[in-house]
Amino acid sequence: MAHYLVRSNGKEFDIVIEKSGDSFHAVVNGRKYFVQSASCGRSKSVMLIDGSSHEISIKTNGYDNSRLVTVGPVEVELEIDNFRLAQLKKAAGNGSGKAASKEIKAPMPGLILEVKVSSGEKVEPGQLILVIEAMKMENAVKSSAAAVVKNIAVSKGQSVEKGDLLIEFE
């Protein structure tokens, strides 16, 4: 028997798994399911929950507790912890609530075509900040809020990878 806490997209699932012969009982937020699971190939399996069939594939992000679970054609990102560990983490109260974005990162890999702001400039919401060309399309990157530009990390003609820092705000 094992007790897990699974979180995804703001939802929490308290799950107890118990083996039952070739199969499993899963108690999910108090509701009991009969689960059969059979693997097929390396990372795929077929899972039946009270008879409902699902094709499952699970990818682990290396050492940590996050998983990319594919249910049929749908991908779900989630985090799974042993229940007690999750409770301890919560009690420790490691801060939630994301800080407002203080930077713009490259939304895609591409080439910086133009930078339309300069350091120290005050920008309005929706103002054009820069233009990235990717796959032959020009993409306008705009500010989401009023802010003051602190640092411009890229220049015209530069290639960037997805996630590269472009602009920092004060």
Partner: protein
């Protein structure tokens, strides 16, 4: 006199190169692929009979390098070059060079490409041929005041579009005078970088129009037919996403009229080959000539499925100087076909391109399903080329069957390693306005403003959570066994073996 083609160089990559190679194989024509350094192990290279390296990953160094392509064609003694779509497909200079080198260019004559590739000339030709056009005129990008005056006289919203090229590049809708100047500069700059020609045209922007196009085939002996229409209104930023044939709003009478119009401009431009005449259709079903695409379209398969005519084979036959083997009366339309363009883009994040290595690629099949794919497991999607990796096309006896079949096929599709538009297409196939056929080119922005798509259903998230828990449970049991960290103090070798066997059983390995 007809002259058989023995060897075709395909000056393209991805799904369209694969499509053309398949036609060559079925015709016992030797197929030659060319490839850039990013495509050494690409599908089109693996499938072709021969393949030659033509340069670096950026397309100007390879797929757009006319010298290297002509040189390769001559070296391997190709009779003909098929340009696919994009790249050199609508480059009149390239068509002319092929002719000079006595290599058959599988496409219209250079003069036709030149004439119709210039939106101003094409529009003039259409007017002369008696086709209705949208009010508009060319503008001088440098004289922004004059341009704005012209825009105001046409009346906002106006559409700025590149005179060269197509496919949504260098195109902007402007709703008010304030935004006009910046849009004009952006459109012109995009056009210049994409087509080497920054000239733009201004026209009245139709509200809620449909984009409907007619497929034509014309041989070198004066025979011309149309193969019915394709409804291409489901677009995002002027890029088609979903196409179908017939159009849900088409009537036999309108098809006759639009088909006649399409053939009028074809005849007026001495068209030879396969081509597409694009129209905008407004809400009272008036249609306006838009442009002629002098090439095979991405969406050609929907026409193939409803007419049972193989457009690539017909292109090759026309290039061989053969007469069309059918007349307009022989062409019949059966059932309904829909195509979804599957792209490596993340719809949740405004359709940003997604790159990476494709894993676990599994295509759907069964009755009425066709996949034109340019990738397989292990293929890499790079930043250098179009993110379209496959087209899923279905046929059904009617539109309703085609939609339910598309839904089924999209559900069967598996791809991992990058984000794709498959989930987005699944949403559209459930959308009431799509299902009723009641939509215009504004469909995407009206139905999905700010790209806010429904994410996974609660039930699906719960299923994923259970799957993750079972998986973790199995792994932990397995680690315990392997490390001998059993709760029992000692475990004999035999019983360990026995327990592992049981575990294999319940995980379903046999």
């Amino acid at each position: 006199m007809s002259k058989p083609i023995k060897k075709i160089l395909i000056a393209n990559r991805g799904e369209i190169a694969v499509r053309i190679i398949r036609a060559c194989k079925e015709l016992s024509i030797t197929s030659v692929a060319v490839f850039s350094s990013a495509d050494r192990s690409a599908c089109h290279v693996a499938m072709a009979d021969e393949a030659y390296f033509i340069g670096g990953a950026p397309s100007p160094e390879s797929y757009l390098d006319q010298n290297k392509i002509i040189e390769t064609a001559k070296k391997c003694q190709s009779d003909a070059i098929h340009p696919g779509y994009g790249f050199l497909a609508e480059n009149a200079g390239f068509a002319r060079r092929c002719a000079d080198e006595k290599i058959i260019f599988i496409g219209p004559r250079a003069e036709t490409i030149e004439l119709l590739g210039d939106k101003i000339q094409a529009r003039q030709k259409a007017i002369e041929a008696g086709l209705p056009v949208i009010p508009g005129e060319e503008i001088d990008v440098a004289d922004s005041d004059d341009a704005l005056t012209k825009a105001k006289s046409i009346g906002f919203p106006v559409l700025i579009k590149a005179i060269a090229g197509g496919g949504g590049k260098g195109m902007r809708v402007v709703n008010s005078a304030e935004d006009f100047n910046e849009s004009l500069i952006r459109a012109s700059s995009e056009a210049k970088s994409a087509f080497g020609d920054g000239r733009v045209f201004l026209e009245k922007f139709l509200e809620n129009p449909r984009h409907i196009e007619l497929q034509i085939l014309c041989d070198a002996h004066g025979n011309a037919v149309h193969l019915g229409e394709r409804e291409c209104s489901i677009q995002r930023r002027h890029q088609k996403l979903i196409e179908e044939s017939p159009s849900p709003v088409m009537t036999p009478k309108l098809r006759l009229k639009m088909g006649e119009a399409a053939l009028k401009i074809a005849r007026a431009s001495d068209y030879i080959g396969a081509g597409t005449v694009e129209f905008m259709v407004d809400q009272d079903m008036s249609f306006y000539f838009l442009e002629v695409n002098t090439r095979l379209q991405v969406e050609h398969p929907v026409t193939e499925l409803v007419t049972a005519i193989d457009l690539v084979k017909e292109q090759i036959a026309i290039a061989e100087n053969k007469k069309l083997s059918f007349s307009q009366d022989d062409i019949t339309f059966s059932g309904h076909a829909i195509e979804c363009r599957l792209s490596a883009e993340d719809p949740q994040q405004g359709f940003v391109p997604s790159t990476g290595t494709i894993q676990d690629y599994r295509i759907p099949s069964g009755p009425g399903v066709r996949i034109d794919s340019g990738v397989e497991s292990g293929s890499e999607i790079s930043v250098y080329y179009d993110p379209l990796f496959a087209k899923l096309i279905v046929w059904g006896k009617d539109r309703s069957e085609a939609i339910s079949r598309m839904r089924r096929a999209l559900e069967e599709f598996r791809i991992s390693g990058l984000k794709t538009t498959i989930g987005f297409h699944r949403l559209v196939m459930e959308n009431d306005n799509f299902i009723s056929g009641d939509f215009s080119t504004n469909f995407i922005e009206t139905e999905y403003p700010n790209f806010e798509f429904e994410t996974a259903a609660d039930k699906t998230i719960e299923t994923a959570a259970i799957a993750a828990a079972i998986d973790k449970f199995k792994n932990e049991s397995s680690i315990n066994l392997q490390n001998g960290k059993s709760s029992r103090a000692s475990v004999s070798n035999w019983s360990l073996y026995h327990r592992q066997r049981n575990m294999r059983k319940f995980t379903g390995s046999r």
